[in-house]
Structure formats: structure tokens, C-alpha cells
Homo-oligomer: 183 residues x 2
């Protein structure tokens, strides 16, 4: 079994058309439904782990600009999207869970300065798997990672994208979204 609380049926997922597959898995990589859509071409999957592996494979097949592009699709933590209620529901949940929606104005300002410094240096946002963290740890990581070389941060950011993908998959499998009737 791919997951401790797997409520989704692999056979049903393998029978999904691309629209159903995208409805369910379309945002496992933030704002990159094209990746999920590409991975549907590789069905049938032997396991849900294989779905993640194919996503990872696709990401790795991209040129550097494509990987940077994936990072640039991510919102800042406690940034403008959060402030204006424009986060995807997955990002909203992740930022909530890490305590990033209840910052003091001093913390918010600090976050903004650090995010700005990071983006100006690297040309992509600071990406971290927020669900596996909390605001103090995040600020520590941000302060530390902003010192890194750009090539290191590209690798690190993509690593975090994959962790986020894994947790989003887990959530979907545990919720066991409404399954289509056999096509």
C-alpha cells in the first residue's frame, strides 16, 4: 500500500480520463497542472508512488529555466497572495498549518523583507515544505538559505517542491476523493 490511510482505488485512478485526473491531482505541483497532465500519459500506474516518480522524472527532464519556472509559480510564504486571499486551497492550508496566517505585524514585515531579499538574489521565491515546519523554523531556514549559491538553492527549492507534492498526494489519497464510476 502506498499510504497508511489510502482510501483511493488505484484501478479507478487508472481508468480516469485526463479531466478527472486533473480535477483530483491537478495542483500537486503548485499552479503547474501541465505536469499532472503530462504524467497522465504514463498510465496505467503500478502504484501511487509511481505517479510521484513520474512527476519527479518530468521535472528532472526540464531545462534549468523550466525548474526555475516551477519555483516562480509558487507564492511567497505570508506574502501578497495570502494577504489578498488569492492562495490556492492547498497553499492556504499549508500556510495555515505552519502558523503563517497568524503572524504579528513585526513577523510579517520581517518575512516580507527576507522574501524580497531572497527573490532579488535568486530570481525565484523561497520554497519550503511548510506543512513539515513552523514559522520560527521557516524564518531560520530562510535566513540560512539566502546565503546559498543560486545553483544550490535551485536544487533545494525543487527538492522542497517534491516534498510538497508528496504531502499533497497523501492528503488526496487519505481523503479518497469521489471516484468516477467505471468508464
Amino acid at each position: 500500500m502506498d499510504s497508511p490511510c489510502q482510501k483511493m482505488d488505484l484501478e479507478a485512478v487508472n481508468s480516469m480520463n485526463y479531466e478527472q485526473f486533473l480535477d483530483i491531482f491537478g495542483n500537486i505541483i503548485e499552479k503547474c497542472p501541465v505536469i499532472t497532465a503530462a504524467v497522465w500519459s504514463r498510465r496505467p500506474f503500478l502504484s501511487f508512488c509511481e505517479v510521484e516518480d513520474r512527476v519527479s522524472e518530468f521535472i528532472e527532464s526540464l531545462p534549468t529555466s523550466g525548474k526555475e519556472g516551477i519555483l516562480r509559480c509558487h507564492p511567497d510564504l505570508a506574502g501578497r497572495e495570502q494577504a489578498s486571499g488569492m492562495l490556492t486551497k492547498e497553499s492556504q492550508e499549508e500556510q495555515n498549518q505552519a502558523g503563517l496566517t497568524s503572524l504579528t505585524s513585526k513577523e510579517r514585515e520581517r518575512m516580507m523583507l527576507l522574501n524580497t531579499e531572497y527573490k532579488q538574489k535568486f530570481g525565484f521565491p523561497f520554497v519550503i515544505c511548510a506543512k513539515m515546519s513552523n514559522k520560527d523554523q521557516i524564518i531560520k531556514e530562510l535566513t540560512s538559505r539566502v546565503q546559498n549559491h543560486p545553483s544550490v538553492e535551485l536544487l533545494k527549492g525543487i527538492e522542497e517542491v517534491k516534498k510538497i507534492c508528496h504531502l499533497r498526494m497523501q492528503d488526496i489519497l487519505c481523503k479518497g476523493s469521489p471516484l468516477p464510476t467505471k468508464l
Copy 2:
């Protein structure tokens, strides 16, 4: 000059950070902001034509599954997204302009059957540059193209994606979106 009514300043665009660039050009390829985000890495651009060339280059660098993925990010014409008001503003405008938002119920049903047939055969939606067409022409094309070999339709669909991108760029250039002050 790239466009007859170019109101956007190339220098200002070349000075944009990736967030500003995405705010303006993020949906030139339907629901694929990752492509725009990747292309930002290639600045400064010598012309707006170069932006489109880089987009095309990026698309062509993708594996077949990636190109199929791009097509799968597109809505059906006169389909469920239109019916539920869930089209992007660009798609809404394009479908309006082609007369696809004012179909009779008979035409709508026919469209749905043809779209379903197409998707079942090819595993991606029928994509056409609707702004350069009208509902009768679209139905003709759909009826004709559904006969094609999958490899032909993949090429054709991507060709249409690039035409749509071109017209979306033209719209943006002609509107001359609010430019950022020099950074």
C-alpha cells in the same frame, strides 16, 4: 515594431521582476504560467517577438507527454468550464468572440458530442485559435480533424496553441498594461 498598436515598453518589460512578468504574461499559454515563468529566465528580450520565440522554443523542448499536457490544460470549446463560468478571462473572451457563448441547445449538444469523440480518440481536447474563427468554421474543423492520426493532431493542436499565444500577446501589447516604475 513588433505590433501595429504596441503600447508596451520593451525596456520596462525587460526590467520587470518575475512576479510582474507573470502578472501580465502569465496566461499567454492557457493555464501554463510555468512556461511564461521559464521564459523570464531568457531576458532581456530584443523584441516582443523574441518572447514568443522563447515560448515556442520551450514548448518544442518538452517531451511528447509535455506537449500533450499543454493541450490538456485547455478547456473544451462551449464545454463544462464555459457552462459553469470557470473559463480564464482570455478563454472567455475568445469563446465569446467566436460566437460560442450563444449556441442553440442543438448546437451545444453537437459540440459536446464532437468534443467527447475527439477527447476519447486523442486523450487531449480539440484546440483551435477560436478568435480567428467562428462557430460554423469550428464545427467544420472539429469534424474534419477528428479523422486525423494522433501524431498529426498533436502537431496541429500545438500549432494552434502558438497562434492563441500570439493573439494573447498582441492583446497585451495593444492594451499596454500598467507598467511598473523602473526598479
